[in-house]
Subunit: 237 residues, 2 copies
Amino acid sequence: MAKTGKLYLIPNTLGNVGLTRVIPSWVIDQVKGIKHFIVENPKEARAFLKKIESDFEQSEFVFSVLNKHTTELDKSNFLDPIAQGENIGIITDAGCPGIADPGAEMVKMAHEKNFQVVPFVGPSSILLAQMASGMNGQSFAFNGYLPIDKSDRKKRLKMLEKQSRDFSQAQSFIETPYRNIKLAEEILDTCSPNTMLCIACDVSLDTEFIKTLPIKAWKKNLLNVLHKRPCIFIIQS
Amino acid sequence: MAKTGKLYLIPNTLGNVGLTRVIPSWVIDQVKGIKHFIVENPKEARAFLKKIESDFEQSEFVFSVLNKHTTELDKSNFLDPIAQGENIGIITDAGCPGIADPGAEMVKMAHEKNFQVVPFVGPSSILLAQMASGMNGQSFAFNGYLPIDKSDRKKRLKMLEKQSRDFSQAQSFIETPYRNIKLAEEILDTCSPNTMLCIACDVSLDTEFIKTLPIKAWKKNLLNVLHKRPCIFIIQS
């Protein structure tokens, strides 16, 4: 009987920086030996695999594409190679698989099939922002995207601010980069003057910007730097 | 006028594994040039610095010790070298500074003084467990330690289970390793049979164990593996 393979979770850079800046060399070595991948975008995955200098030729790679168009039936077959003794790697377009990306669903399925899941170390903008925020590292929550509707979003912001106060829990969230400035302005207009706000942009890149100030000390003209750059917002009241 | 230094957040391994397994080589290179450190434990920090092959001799390092005995006055002086143009690194005993460790307070102070804070990539058992859990990666919270009192702890577990259901938010927490089995038994006794439970032990080590199952499928005899090993628990209802 063939030995069962494993599901490896392979982080990617958060933008245009060298792999060795954010991925441990041992992880790069492990990925060299993997041929089967579940990816968001084969083009991005090929670029990544070119950088790690895989033991395999580009023509040998087997990609399963996981995105919003992938059917349930397809997904249910993606892990079949593991049963046949092959390892599979999930490569995300940016950051850590399973964190704010579609990979979590495949991981869930792997546990249902009793396959071993191995997470590799790499850059998570959420975690790096939390580290660098100076906010409560004993209790923190990531909340994904806020509602788009302005009044719903205001309510949600108020609620997150209340949760951060009631549970001393730092509350982080994200926005589509081109709407960052708008969200930041709404945070300044909605939250209490003494609530702390951390904005972390371009985390782990040369252009990284991370700053924590009370709401009352943030000036709207400081927010122009956020335009179209990936940001994590963290509040704590 | 001297150029201002920066505060670097330097992760450490989560146990006895080589640095290159969990710390990017570029990060190791950056740390070689740092002489001033804020540490939990100078002995651990010296062992770490020996492994990275610093540009400095052990006798040249300047350590500020940050633990529960450190006075507020001492803390307020720890960042002075930054104003004088020196970089400072925070080295934690295990994992990422600012995450479930005393470093966050120094980071907060750095922001108050308008110093730049730079987080380096490294292993976080909380993040790696979340990645490998297959639970909601769009919304998750880390809650630190639960109350020690049995009835308070039961209430808190019930509340976390409810929060995970109400907000579709995965809820993680930790325990002192020698009490892991007891906590795990209480989770099985307290949570609903269909609530998912991930237990992640010895994350990033050779002995790593990560498993997600519904409460009803966990058997108490499976829990013996947790004894005295660092664990992350995650529930989602």
